[in-house]
Symmetry: C2
Subunit: 233 residues, 2 copies
DNA sequence: CGGTTCTGTCAACGGTGTTGACGGAAAATT
DNA sequence: AATTTTCCGTCAACACCGTTGACAGAACCG
């Protein structure tokens, strides 16, 4: 339950851990984000988290009903970090781009959280903030009502999905990533022109672009189309 | 190793399992896809897979170096299913849309595979086919060289990312999905208009659109923008 | 037929999330 | 201030996970 953490939080006792730590939902979320940030996706487990904080692993279940609930809380914290220091400018398009890039960066820096939360509703306070911001920019662009909501949802889901999948890849062990790049080379370096004429024609470019990040280009395509819609009215 | 499966496959002996099954990479991939298809993302594990096939779980490691390698093979098989029965028409935009929808449907129907493969290169035969198809449509639309490759990569990554994240959500237990919908209601049904003016203004629409699938809209935005680029030349 | 290579089975390792019982410490009540 | 109640950190344990190494029999090759 999302409520659980907060309700209990308000009348929390500050008993100390065997190792001397004082627990709270915030402390746990902080430590969890630090773990995924430093040791990658595989770095987070209940036992390791307990070790990092200095408490018995199962103590975490006094603050979060499950790791899923913990992930949701971490997700909301990521939104907070995304918005931390963000100052909107004049142009709505620039602002949306900035918000997208910040979200992407934060998620890529905390891999496993992204996948856990990308399709979810944290229901947290910061989620409300960022939705309000995006909706605000879209309304400034001239969208309202259902059109604005549909665009906000598309834009948001796009960014979350892209960030999550990219984060997932970047979080994999170096050998896996290297093997993937090698497979690009092997599979598309030399293609049968009879069977795959289009692929063969562009093969060298395909291989050369294996490491190019597509998020930026895809983001630009989407923003341009939104702008076009705004101009049409 | 991806090569491993195939090489060994060619000179395979057909010893029978204790339960009478004859193993092969294809049999294993089939059974694995059936498991994730029927019992959701959590339905697949090496032990359960062995049970479904009728062999010792560890026998699978004679055909795939790891579950990751198995996932890649499953991913390539999903592409085959995507292309199975696909007949391209006249319009490149329609064709791209159809390919996107088919991919989405296949991934959503086999949740865990999507997340495992969305950011990866399977290097399989069918991957080559679909890339050739997409590149072909883009070239028909008037793109070539680097422009074509960049668009193909953006388009592909977008579809895979969106499909994977949607599949991830749909594969979660019903209670989780219900709780998420409830959280939409709770968090955005009644918002403080002072603090979040834009969100408050559109709140009812936001809640009403909680279950709307954004893939279609986002896909249309992207296709429209690609079309616009094609017209500009 | 003999030797070699393959491959299905088995036991085991170290890891995971989660549960339930327990006991002491903090808060609430009297 | 004493007593009751509630909380919450700890511990042991459960059922599961992916993966490894040894082993023995079946299949193949000469």
């Amino acid at each position: 339950m999302a409520a659980m953490a907060r309700v209990i939080e308000s009348r929390r006792r500050n008993t100390r851990t065997k190792a001397g730590a004082v627990l709270s939902a915030d402390v746990i979320v902080d430590a969890a984000l630090a773990l995924v940030g430093e040791h990658g996706a595989a770095g987070l487990s209940v036992r390791r988290l307990g070790g990092a904080i200095g408490c018995d692993p199962t103590a975490i279940y006094r603050y979060f009903a499950s790791v899923d609930a913990l992930f949701l809380a971490m997700g909301d914290r990521l939104i907070a970090r995304t918005l931390d220091g963000y100052r909107p400018g004049e142009d709505w398009k620039d602002n949306l781009r900035t918000l997208a890039r910040r979200t992407y960066a934060e998620y890529v820096a905390h891999p496993r959280v992204a996948i856990a939360v990308a399709s979810r509703v944290t229901g947290g306070a910061h989620e409300r903030r960022i939705i309000d911001l995006v909706l605000g920019e879209l309304r400034r662009a001239g969208f309202a009502g259902e059109r604005a909501v549909r665009l906000y949802r598309s834009f948001g889901d796009f960014i979350l999905a892209f960030s999550a999948v990219d984060a997932d890849f970047l979080a994999r062990p170096g050998e896996v990533r290297a093997a993937d790049l090698q497979r690009w080379q092997d599979a598309y370096g030399d293609v049968d022109a009879e069977q795959f004429p289009n692929l063969a024609a562009e093969a060298p470019i395909v291989v050369a672009h294996a490491t190019v990040n597509t998020f930026e280009l895809c983001l630009e395509l989407l923003l341009d189309q939104i702008e076009a819609l705004a101009l049409i009215r």
